[in-house]
């Protein structure tokens, strides 16, 4: 640095001396002093360049130049605050939206799960294409306990493997009875996940011994809520489902079980001596051995499936190889993929649309800058004439646009923060990993990159156009606006066409979502007026009421109390309401009048239980026949109801089903079909209604002599105008507790909540696309308005001449409108093709409408063309009012 300063300090002086000496030499050769000096200067060349180049040798000059450019850019921006404000705000919205969506995409889709070496974790997903009825069952074929033992003992590709399921448990003895979220795990699950406990220890193999000491682990949240984070809870006992369990450990704060929040973890403690082949009710999870791949693991499981069939049985006289017809096939997936599920399509679509909005914003800014640069053409031409290289001018212009990008970006970060809060509050409750979404350094890095890139993108178009070597021509031409040359407008017109095309794509996708939503609303879900249908779930554990009939009598008593609450029109219960998402039972059903071949298993049907009065309470239509009565239930009468689609499949018409007989297995007596119920969208409005068999909540055990079978966990449905209000809920609780004070209420909500959650994905997508599309429309309209009004202002002289020569103001109006219409139609034309291609990506999000829905396309095209024409109309009106005299004097 010092050397540099010393050498550079008298460079000016030195160059002056140089020229002096050269002049003197020339004089000595006999030139006149004037000529001598001229020749010397000429011979020296560009003094400024020589100085700059000398300085540049000592480099970091690029930094100095950058700072200089930045200072200059800021000065230029602050000179036109209106332009700067519009530009920065446009960018802030675009960048903010993108940063917000990126933070969601990054947190949900890109970041690894919060477990050690989480890439080794897999979900043991398997399908059974031979077992019809399971096909649309989201979880595929779950694992049975015998499968777990086989896989755990015989595998070659897993470090550890286990099964789990989630449910609820009643905790008593800690004040009010409370229903908590429980996860039940086999040995190997915690070991696979690998997150060490925060306090205490994991379950050991000894804790999994049936009828051994009962143990439990707590979540960090539950530990804080119930025990105030007291570390001495280890070793204490709590009552879970009337069973005393010793607390052995607490999981750490940010530990989530796969993707669910939970309160307690308890061991499954399978009794190895008593498990059978069946009982497919558990999720499998495993950690792959180092170096093992998913195809290897699939092959490993496929090998073990036949070992499993040979090792276990469903009891004497049953053929274990009947499961061969199920074609059980492992389809192991990374745990992350299992958790993310199908939300990635939604998120990528949202990311894509918001990216398009960003492009439209950039196009708008490029247009603004084109106009701005055009008015600065003279300045640029002067700078070029004074010796600024075109690279240098390019850099000046780009610095300015990148500065705009950065300003917009920093404001955008604030907007993104607000956006993320908005997303979290409106986002679908079933968006996985919701709690992990944050605005972190990765998002900030993305925002910075986006700001700079967008600055370069929208700055490059005007910069290349005007900083080019031809800039000097402008010195002569600028200042006159004779005939706005086509060439000058081409860039702007192209930008507008692009904007309209992109806006078209976005509005079409929003339109398709609206049509999807409309289609969903016309679907009969199998209940009516969910707003006024209060739901709650109650479990009556074995330890509280042992005798099966007494369970149903207790539930019946609760119904009587509920019906007595003022404002309640009817009340009933069922095993689960549609779309509640509780795992339901599936099994095959045999009809008396059908012939079944040996060794085949008929399709699986959904099994549900209904109390009398349910159809009236829920608003479900009875197609034909009648409901069960209480006396039939208590009398264990062999009666059953079926869904309309099952009746049609088996007997052709609903009425033909009445009086027919069904049974689950040969040991069960035939059950008479007494009623047919409308199809119900059990798994969501977009999913096909499953075939359902409706049983009595209290029935003889179909598997032969044994205890009577009773539905202990049921959802109560109460029809009342007061549903959802706090006062009503208090009365409901009081009614339940007047029957039995130890019964906790869970999942208290209205049917409308359940329905809303089920369509949350669709409505979330709709809201996001709606926002993106309206932004696109607004930006597109502004863009086309700007271009047309600028064109008009450039054509003032031409219009003036036309008017002076006798053109009617109507002709002028149509001339301007034609110009706008041309751009809009071209944009729409291109947009149709782009949308045709892009909408196909959305197919999985659509329902009841094709990706090429002509109605949507036509409406959007009409909308866009008319809106753009309106945007042209305003400047066109202005052009009509031009006074020829003024216009001609204008120059």
């Amino acid at each position: 640095m010092k050397r540099r300063d010393r050498v550079l300090q008298d460079l000016d002086q030195e160059i002056r001396e140089h020229i002096e000496m050269a002049t003197q030499d020339n004089i000595d050769r006999g030139m006149s002093p004037e000529d001598a000096r001229y020749a010397a200067v000429r011979k020296f060349g560009n003094v400024t360049l020589a100085k700059e180049d000398s300085r540049e040798v000592w480099s970091v000059v690029w930094l100095e130049r950058l700072l200089q450019d930045i200072r200059f850019a800021l000065r230029m921006l602050s000179k036109s605050p209106g332009f700067t404000a519009v530009a920065v705000l446009t960018l802030a919205i675009g960048i903010g939206g993108n940063a917000a969506v990126f933070s969601v995409v990054d947190s949900v889709l890109l970041k690894p799960l919060n477990y050690p070496r989480s890439e080794e974790l897999v979900s043991l997903h398997q399908i059974a294409p031979g077992a019809a009825g399971l096909a649309d069952f989201e979880n595929g074929l779950l694992l049975s306990p015998s499968m777990y033992f086989t896989y755990a003992e015989q595998n070659r590709t897993f470090q550890s493997v286990g099964v789990w399921n989630a449910g609820t448990a009643n905790v008593t003895g800690l004040g009010e009875p409370e229903q908590v979220r429980a996860v039940y795990v086999s040995d190997g699950v915690l070991q696979a996940l690998g997150t060490p406990p925060g306090v205490g220890r994991w379950f050991s193999a000894a804790d999994q011994i049936p009828r051994g000491p009962e143990r439990v682990m707590l979540s960090h949240g539950y530990w804080q809520r119930r025990f105030g984070g007291d570390p001495t809870v280890i070793g204490r006992n709590i009552m879970i489902d009337s069973q005393s369990r010793e607390i052995v450990g607490v999981m750490p704060k940010n530990f989530r079980f796969v993707d669910s929040d939970f309160d307690v973890i308890a061991p499954l403690a399978f009794d190895r001596g008593h498990v059978i082949l069946a009982g497919f009710g558990f999720h499998g999870i495993a950690r792959l051995k180092q170096g093992a791949t998913i195809p290897q693991a699939n092959a490993d499981i496929a090998r073990m499936v036949s070992i499993w069939m040979d090792s276990w049985t469903n009891g004497p006289n049953s053929n274990p190889h009947i499961y061969e017809t199920w074609k059980i096939t492992p389809l192991i997936r990374p745990l992350k993929q299992e958790i993310i599920g199908n939300v990635n399509e939604v998120l990528w679509v949202v990311m894509g649309t918001i990216g398009l909005v960003m492009l439209i914003a950039c196009a708008n800014l490029a247009n603004l800058l084109l106009v701005r640069v055009e008015s600065r053409q003279q300045e640029l031409a002067v700078r070029a004439a004074l010796g600024a290289g075109w690279g240098r001018i390019l850099r000046t212009l780009l610095t300015e646009s990148v500065m705009l990008g950065l300003l917009g970006g920093s404001l955008g970060v604030g907007l993104a923060y607000a956006g993320v809060q908005f997303l979290l509050s409106t986002g679908p409750a079933n968006l996985p990993r919701l709690s992990e979404i944050t605005l972190d350094t990765r998002t900030l890095g993305f925002t910075l990159l986006l700001s700079v890139l967008s600055g370069l993108l929208f700055g490059l178009i005007p910069a290349l156009k005007y900083a080019g070597p031809r800039a000097s021509l402008a010195l002569r031409g600028a200042g006159r606006t004779i005939g706005a040359s086509r060439e000058r407008h081409r860039a702007r017109n192209l930008l507008v066409i692009g904007q309209v095309a992109m806006a078209f794509v976005l509005i079409v996708s929003a339109g398709l979502m609206i049509r999807t939503f409309q289609a969903l609303r016309t679907v009969e879900p199998g209940f009516t007026d969910g707003e006024h249908l209060q739901l709650m779930r109650i479990t009556i554990p074995d330890s509280l009421v042992g005798e099966p009939e007494q369970v149903t009598r207790t539930q019946n008593a609760i119904l009587d109390k509920l019906a007595a609450i003022p404002g309640v029109r009817s009340a009933a219960f069922t095993s689960e309401m549609p779309m509640e998402g509780f795992d339901s039972g599936w099994d095959q059903i045999y009809a008396e009048d059908k012939v079944y071949e040996d060794n085949t298993i008929p399709p699986l049907r959904l099994y549900k239980y209904l109390s009398p009065g349910f159809l009236q309470a829920a608003g479900t239509r009875l197609v034909t026949g009648r409901e069960m009565t209480w006396s039939e239930i208590y009398g264990l009468q062999p009666v059953v109801m079926v869904s309309e689609n099952l009746a049609r499949e088996m007997w052709g018409t609903p009425s033909a089903a009445l009086g027919k007989h069904l049974r689950e297995i040969p040991t069960q007596p035939w059950q008479e079909v007494i009623g047919v119920i409308q199809d119900v969208r059990e798994k969501g409005v977009q999913e096909k209604a499953p075939e359902i068999v409706y049983w009595s909540p209290l029935m003889k055990n179909p598997f032969g002599p044994g205890p009577i079978q009773v539905a202990r966990t049921v959802t109560f449905a109460i029809r009342s105008e007061r549903a959802g209000t706090e006062g009503f809920l208090n009365e409901v609780r009081a009614a339940v507790w007047s029957v039995n004070p130890n019964l906790p209420l869970a999942s208290v909500r209205t049917m409308a909540n359940v329905y809303g959650k089920s369509v949350a994905r669709t409505s979330f997508t709709l809201v996001m696309l709606g926002i993106a599309a309206s932004m696109a429309l607004a930006l597109g309209v502004i863009g086309i308005y700007g271009v047309i009004s600028y064109t008009v202002s450039q054509q003032v002289r031409e219009i003036g001449i036309r008017l002076a020569l006798g053109a009617q103001s109507g002709d002028v109006l149509s001339m301007v409108l034609k110009e706008g219409a041309k751009l809009a139609l071209l944009g729409v034309f291109i947009g149709v093709f782009a949308a045709f291609g892009l909408a196909r990506l959305m197919t999985s999000l659509l329902f009841g409408v094709t990706a090429h829905d002509p109605l949507t396309f036509a409406c959007v095209a009409t909308l866009l063309v008319s809106v753009t024409l309106l945007a042209c109309y305003v400047p066109a009106r202005r052009s009509m009012k031009i006074d020829p005299m003024v216009a001609l004097r204008y120059e």
Binding site: R3, R4, E14, E17, H18, D53, V57
Partner: protein, 119 residues
């Protein structure tokens, strides 16, 4: 400067200016104008040095520590900056000269294969 004269003169190849400066300074320290004059004079005015470009070249050489700069007084008693070859510069000159010779020979052989002698 007439067009004819321009044709007679040759613009310097990129980088050769550095070499010429080093060569000039072998004879002793000199100031900028003297260096420019010496290059032109020694080449019988064939080589055209845009004198302005001399200065960035000088700074380049100083930065590489091949020459050094010091204050002094010019022949007509003006204060001037003198440039002097350093030991490092001397070594570099030898290196660059042999490189240049090789290059010139090679190009010569290609351009006039018959005059290049047996090869």
């Amino acid at each position: 400067m007439s067009t004819k004269e321009q044709q007679r003169r040759i613009e310097l190849l990129q980088g050769t200016l550095d070499l010429l400066i080093l060569r000039t300074l072998v004879l002793g320290p000199a100031h900028g104008h003297a260096i420019a004059k010496a290059i032109e004079f020694k080449s019988d005015d064939v080589l055209l040095v845009e004198q302005g470009s001399l200065y960035p070249a000088l700074h380049r050489l100083i930065k590489r520590k091949w020459i050094s700069a010091e204050g002094g007084v010019s022949e007509n008693n003006r204060k001037a900056k003198f440039y002097r070859l350093t030991a490092l510069g001397r070594k570099q000159l030898v290196l660059e000269t042999s490189k240049w010779d090789k290059l010139a020979r090679a190009i010569g052989r290609i351009l006039r294969p018959t005059e290049g002698g047996p090869s």
